[in-house]
């Protein structure tokens, strides 16, 4: 058993490369998903029924698809409608769009719970439309939704493991190739688990910082 971990240690470069790729995938797509969420959430809250219904259909639809299936569609299915993406492009696009739906729903929930008074004060002081959203609504929204957004980031990190099926060299892919080369499944996968866990701890620490920022403002 110790020998197995020794083998994994000799392949640490591969694992660390996978870890870095997982981190990059997760970071880029959480930022992308949030930015898309910032657009989708006002659409969900729109007073125009056509806009809010279209946004609602997208969000609900996306949340009902298994991520693995969605990744298949983007990587294998999109070329038949003329969109050709390499595995990185497909992986990033799938993670971003899929999680944008969750982010939009998270932000909508926080928006509904936001005190009406403060938004109304914004309106009374001459804020409207985009400026109202950007300056008055969004900042407290992100503060109060911080922990849930962090939770979703952890979900993204875990979902990124599915991208091993489109040959993206992320952490699970690295662990998997080590185990198939040396037949050390336990050592390879447990090491990967520990590295995922480490990533999640970093996210937790980030969420705690955000929580402290929110606490002095609450």
């Amino acid at each position: 058993m110790i020998r197995d971990f020794g083998i994994v240690w000799t392949e640490r470069g591969l694992l660390l490369n996978g870890l870095a790729n997982t981190a990059i995938l997760s970071l880029v797509s959480v930022v992308g998903a949030l930015l898309l969420g910032f657009v989708l959430t006002p659409a969900l809250m729109s007073k125009k029924p056509a806009v809010s219904r279209a946004a609602r259909a997208f969000v609900d639809g996306m949340r009902c698809i298994p991520f693995l299936l969605f990744a298949y569609i983007v990587y294998y299915g999109f070329p038949s409608i003329g969109i050709n993406l390499d595995n990185w492009g497909a992986g990033l696009l799938a993670l971003t769009i899929y999680n944008a739906a969750y982010m939009a729903e998270i932000l909508r929930g926080a928006w509904v719970a936001l005190p009406r008074d403060e938004i109304e004060a914004g309106v009374a002081f001459g804020f409207s439309e985009l400026r109202l959203f950007r300056r008055i609504i969004l900042p407290p929204l992100v503060l109060s939704a911080g922990p849930v957004i962090g939770n979703q980031l952890i979900q993204i990190i875990k979902d990124s493991a599915f991208l091993t099926i489109i040959a993206l060299p992320e952490l699970t892919h690295a662990a998997s190739s080590i185990q198939s080369r040396y037949y050390v499944p336990f050592a390879a996968f447990i090491t990967a688990v520990a590295l995922y866990w480490g990533l999640c701890l970093i996210v937790e620490a980030g969420v705690n910082v955000l929580r402290q920022l929110a606490d002095v403002r609450r």
């Binding site: 309106v123 002081f125 001459g126 804020f127 409207s128 002095v216």
Partner: protein
């Protein structure tokens, strides 16, 4: 009560929520430097009236003019777009019952936010004015605190300073002391009294009878959505003309004590 060049003119404003008529044909004017206190039992439409003035609530009928300029509906009868309405709103300051300070901004940032972002005046000038306003309401030492760290009375004084930072033509107060602990009411009323003395034009919805009696230039008594009585506070409090006003004032007969507290 007609003023030659009123800051605010409200003509024939009515507003219903479903079957419930909250305001019925309300008309009044406010001249420059006047402090008008809107009194009346709860549910009489006072807050709705205030919220109709800056179109936070859209009146069903009636016209509102600020310094002769229409609010909400153009003189051609077309409802204004958000941008145009927002521009007018920046000239009407508002103080809220539950303060409604922006929680993610410090006290100083709360004061500077709308002047910088909406009015787009020079930042250095806004900052100087904001600091002066904080000194005026006695909160210079709190400028970097977040609203959550303030007492109710302090929050409301920031709320007033925030409204003043817009250099408004008119200040609206929606029950500014109703959410405060009794011992904190005085510090807010002191600030409002100073503003009245300095000639700020204000419409104040309040239950503080003592304040209305000695700070108002005029009282507007609302009952069931109608202006039942209006006049100078001396006359209104000593010799109310209507039975409804008499009954209303009787319930506040014990208010004498609070005037001592605030003076």
């Amino acid at each position: 009560m007609t003023t030659s060049n009123p800051v605010l003119s409200v003509v024939g404003v009515s507003k219903s929520f479903g079957d419930n008529e909250v305001l019925s044909d309300v008309s009044f004017q406010v001249g420059k430097g006047e402090t008008v206190c809107v009194l009346g039992p709860s549910g009489s439409g006072k807050s709705t009236l205030l919220r109709c003035i800056n179109w936070l609530e859209r009146p069903d009928v009636g016209q509102i003019h600020l310094n002769g300029e229409p609010v909400g509906v153009t003189s051609g009868g077309v409802v204004m777009n958000d941008r145009r309405l927002s521009r007018i709103r920046t000239r009407i300051g508002m103080v809220f019952q539950h303060f409604a300070l922006w929680p993610h901004l410090t006290v100083l940032q709360n004061l500077m936010e709308a002047p910088v972002q909406v009015q787009r005046r020079p930042k250095a000038e806004i900052r100087d004015e904001a600091l002066a306003l904080l000194a005026k309401v006695g909160l210079s030492d709190k400028r970097d605190a977040f609203p959550a760290r303030l007492s109710g009375g302090q929050k409301q004084r920031v709320g007033i300073a925030r409204a003043l930072a817009m250099r408004p033509d008119l200040l609206l107060f929606d029950e500014p002391t109703s959410a405060l602990d009794p011992e904190l009411v005085g510090e807010v009323l002191v600030v409002m009294r100073d503003l009245a003395r300095e000639g700020m034009t204000m419409v104040i919805v309040t239950h503080e009878m003592a304040f209305a009696r000695d700070a108002a230039t005029r009282v507007l008594f609302l009952d069931r959505g109608r202006v039942v009585e209006t006049g100078p506070p001396d006359r209104f409090f000593a010799r109310p003309e209507t039975e409804r006003a008499r009954q209303f004032l009787q319930r506040y007969a014990g208010e004498g004590a609070s005037s001592e507290r605030t003076r």
